[in-house]
Symmetry: C2
Subunit: 309 residues, 2 copies
């Protein structure tokens, strides 16, 4: 199960009624913050999620409205006595872009590990920390903005069903079954047994995509394929702003709807609304024309994504 | 008339129900922001004041909860098309402390003038901009915190009443009266006439004091003498926390009350509440024991300070 909370839905300017766009997800005790604009730590408190205890911060790009909340969040972690290491991921330029932020935050009593994410690069969580789940993967999709940018795909693989008849045919003692079910290999009389030797075909896992700021692009459509939830920027409501959106590296509601349709996602939440959109719901039909179940994100909106069965 | 709005009342951590402590004052079209923590620009919007159009930002000190809102505010000014110069004042170290902030904000299409304020240093607003009122003065009182710190006194001098009989005795033609009333000198037959030649004794002006983070100290009591409004930090509610307050360079409610009483101020607003104070009103009696009219500040609370008559 992936728990996801949308912490904010604003673009560029934090508004009293709309925090800057950021997301928070939690899977098997590991939590990932997606972007951190000014006010994100407050938005996390408001939404009732533990922003201070976040393990990984994945930055889509380095524009101020996506990173200016970092110095304050880091100092809050400090004042709350955090000692656990923190990972910060982002596109090329991470160290340079984060230098003034880390200078402002000052010395911290916990490790801050910076990890640049190349175009299309993915890592499973156990590559960051050996105790984290290996089946969960964070992939950085190159997107189309005015600066280096990424969308993040958080995906969880789900092994096939355990087949006792296969385990018995291999002569596997029952005490070893559990380890294979968990995905470990086991040794039996010097012979290596793989999980896939005793399971059926891999089952559908879970997948969540957070676009960051971007115009539509093929890599994003491909990366979002069959996602359980696509959290997409939708800066402009009006179709007539498509030119402006292209110029500034953003999307209209209609473009986000088309992206969701083309990627065949199951749910679409729109966010990153220009402050000109007083009520984003007014523009929702433009997205629903392509993806009927599209929803306008609201601050604090959350969902638990579960396996199909 | 000085219009003052308290934008936030929290210490250290921005909370959903309490923004970080900051103040906003406006006098004769010039506006001054006192401190700028994460979320101050949003708090200004919420309070309905024009934080983007602020002319002067006076920083009490450089702890994160008082300055981390600057990069975002500067970028918002940029995105709103600001061209007017901005002044940022603060204690020693201003350039060094602001360097990472200005790096984050990036190139700005308006001047940002940094002006260090020495201990006890004051300047009249016309020293910053020739069109700003000369009778208004900002004075930086050295305070007692863990780092270089200032309280700010915003004071307005008020000339004495214009005395027509004196003007007539000097043979001053009526068209020149207005200029003397405004505080200008005039030349009459090669003789310089000063405003004080045609006015009664200087009248009581206006005075507002914003303490920033500090323990009580004589310079502050002296600087706050007879103020119309003292906006004082009061981090801890409980008298028993006085030792902690001293150690960390803060005050208890009772200490703020004593400061107000000793300085003979007219009004006392408390702010900068530790997040441990769920409801600051619970502790108000501790301040009222010394200053009966003490009030707990709330976000957005505002007042217009007017001349006595």
């Amino acid at each position: 199960m992936i728990d996801f909370t949308l912490l904010g839905t604003a673009a560029l300017l934090p508004l009293p009624e709309r925090a800057l766009t950021a997301g928070f997800l939690r899977y098997q005790g590991v939590s990932v913050l997606l972007d951190c604009g000014e006010g994100t730590q407050t938005a996390a408190r408001r939404a009732g999620v533990n922003g201070i205890g976040v393990d990984v911060i994945a930055l889509t790009h380095y524009h101020g409205d996506h990173i200016f909340g970092l110095p304050g969040l880091l100092q809050t972690m400090l004042s709350m006595g955090r000692t656990e290491p923190l990972w910060i991921l982002g596109p090329e330029g991470l160290e340079r872009e984060l230098r003034p932020i880390l200078t402002l935050a000052g010395p911290l009593p916990f490790e801050v590990n910076l990890r640049e994410m190349g175009k299309g690069e993915g890592l499973s969580l156990d590559q960051l920390h050996p105790l984290w789940p290996s089946e969960a993967r964070l992939t950085a999709i190159p997107t189309r903005h005015r600066v280096p940018s990424r969308a993040y795909v958080f995906s969880v693989r789900r092994a096939g069903r355990f087949l006792p008849e296969k385990a018995e045919a291999l002569g596997l003692p029952k005490p070893l079954w559990g380890r294979l079910q968990k995905g470990d290999r086991v040794l039996l009389d010097g012979r290596e047994i793989l999980p896939e030797d005793v399971t059926g075909p891999e089952r559908r896992g879970l997948k969540l995509v957070f676009t960051g700021d971007t115009s539509p692009c093929p890599a994003l459509t491909e990366g979002a394929e069959d996602a359980d939830l696509l959290v997409s920027e939708a800066t402009y409501g009006d179709d007539q702003d498509e030119g402006l959106a292209r110029e500034r590296g953003h999307m209209t509601f209609a473009q986000a709807g088309r992206l969701a349709r083309d990627a065949g996602v199951r749910r679409l939440w729109l966010c990153h609304f220009s402050q000109k959109l007083k009520d984003p719901e007014d523009y929702l039909p433009a997205a629903q024309a392509y993806f009927p179940d599209a929803l306008c994100g609201t601050d604090g909106m959350s969902i638990s994504l579960r396996y199909e069965d």
